[in-house]
């Protein structure tokens, strides 16, 4: 009885040592995403409907003669643009915004599995992924 207790204790100690020796699995990054330029359409402008009849904009809003209103240039059909006077804003202005690249990349683990990681090596996924799933996840997060 006493012997078996000792054996069990020895086994437990051995198990603990084995657990401590487990190597830490690290990830090395393999892919990056390039930055993109966003072209945002012209912003809202202020318009005045010229004399004549009431006009219905493409968003359904009715504007009466001489009415001053705000609308995006795309809401006024080009064929009817002469019925309106632009009071404020630039109907052709296009804003360019440079969008930073996604921080995520695919990293291969030492055990052959894959993670989606940030530049500091922090995994966004909790469970290691196969290559195809990692690629799908990277696409889902960064596009």
């Amino acid at each position: 009885m006493a012997e078996s207790k000792v054996t069990k204790k020895k086994k437990a100690v051995k198990k603990k040592v084995v657990e401590k020796k487990e190597p830490e699995i690290t990830t090395s990054k393999t892919e990056v995403i390039t930055p993109q330029i966003v072209v945002t359409p012209p912003g809202m402008c202020t318009w005045r409907k010229k004399e004549g009849a009431t006009f219905r904009l493409s968003n359904g809003k009715k504007v009466k003669p001489n009415e001053v209103f705000k609308a995006y240039p795309r809401e006024i059909p080009p064929a009817f643009r002469d019925l309106f006077e632009l009071l404020e804003g630039d109907e052709n202005a296009v804003e360019r915004v440079i969008t930073a690249p996604s921080k995520f990349a695919i990293g291969e683990r030492e055990d052959g599995m894959f993670d989606v990681v940030d530049p500091d090596g922090k995994c966004i996924n909790d469970v290691p992924l196969g290559k195809e799933d990692a690629e799908k996840l990277l696409l889902a997060l960064s596009t």
């Binding site: 993109q36 330029i37 966003v38 072209v39 945002t40 359409p41 995006y72 795309r74 915004v97 440079i98 969008t99 930073a100 690249p101 996604s102 921080k103 989606v116 940030d118 530049p119 500091d120 922090k122 966004i124 996924n125 909790d126 469970v127 799908k136 996840l137 889902a140 997060l141 960064s142 596009t143």
Partner: protein
């Protein structure tokens, strides 16, 4: 715009959601001079980042301005069209995932393919309060922070820590940990409206097996256990 098929990446994992409440400065022991410099815009919002190092390795959803704390924030979630228009350029520099339930993204007028990479989750039309279990949707709960809980749930989190969910002004009258915008104390408070969803969120969380902790000990939300950040990180009960 097509709604986002949210991947379940945090399978039964943990997620921290950073709201706008001023209590985060206390929770991370940020010195008064740094807070003052950030409020006066002499320092960027990321000046808080070194003090928050203990959570950099966690899965983080930053609500509204929280994305500017640092690139350790994984997701930026916002629900207001107006906020997006005001912070579009700064948001374009965020390298994490941008997710929104703002109605503007549901319309064809927003060009989904313009490279801004905004993921859209619709506001659940049948359930305005609580946690949404319907894919592609969130419960709006009348505020972005509470709506972000639905996102965390879709991502698979089973333990959610709420940071800066104060839902009241601090003793100095601050509504946020920054001065990008502040509530006008003279106007009717929005907090009662913001608080309305939390009892339903708590009930949904219990049913769905999600543990929610409130790391704002002075918060007006009284339906989740309140703990300090230190206690949560140390695993204290």
């Amino acid at each position: 715009m097509r709604a986002w098929n949210t991947p379940k990446i945090w399978d039964k994992g943990e997620c921290w959601i950073i709201g706008g409440g001023p209590s985060i400065t206390q929770q991370f022991h940020i010195p008064e001079n740094v807070i003052e410099a950030v409020r006066e815009k002499r320092l960027p919002l990321s000046a808080y980042s070194p003090y928050m190092e203990s959570i950099h390795s966690k899965h983080i959803i930053g609500v509204n301005m929280a994305f500017q704390l640092g690139n350790w924030v994984d997701f930026c979630f916002f629900g207001d069209d107006g906020w997006f228009r005001d912070h579009r350029k700064e948001l374009a520099q965020f390298t994490g995932v941008r997710v929104s339930c703002a109605p503007m993204f549901s319309k064809n007028t927003y060009h989904a393919d313009n490279g801004e990479r905004i993921k859209y989750l619709a506001q659940d039309p049948k359930k305005s309060h609580g946690i949404s279990e319907v894919p592609y949707t969130v419960c709006w709960n009348a505020n972005s922070g509470a709506a972000a809980i639905s996102l965390a749930s879709h991502l698979g989190a089973k333990k959610i820590v709420l940071l800066g969910f104060d839902m009241q002004l601090d003793p100095n009258g601050n509504s946020h940990w920054h001065k990008e915008y502040q509530m006008n104390p003279a106007k009717r408070s929005v907090f009662p409206r913001h608080l309305r969803g939390f009892p339903i969120i708590a009930a949904d969380a219990k049913r769905m097996g999600i543990e929610i902790l409130n790391a704002s000990p002075e918060s007006a939300i009284d339906v989740f256990p309140k703990m300090t950040v230190e206690a949560i990180l140390n695993g204290s009960p």
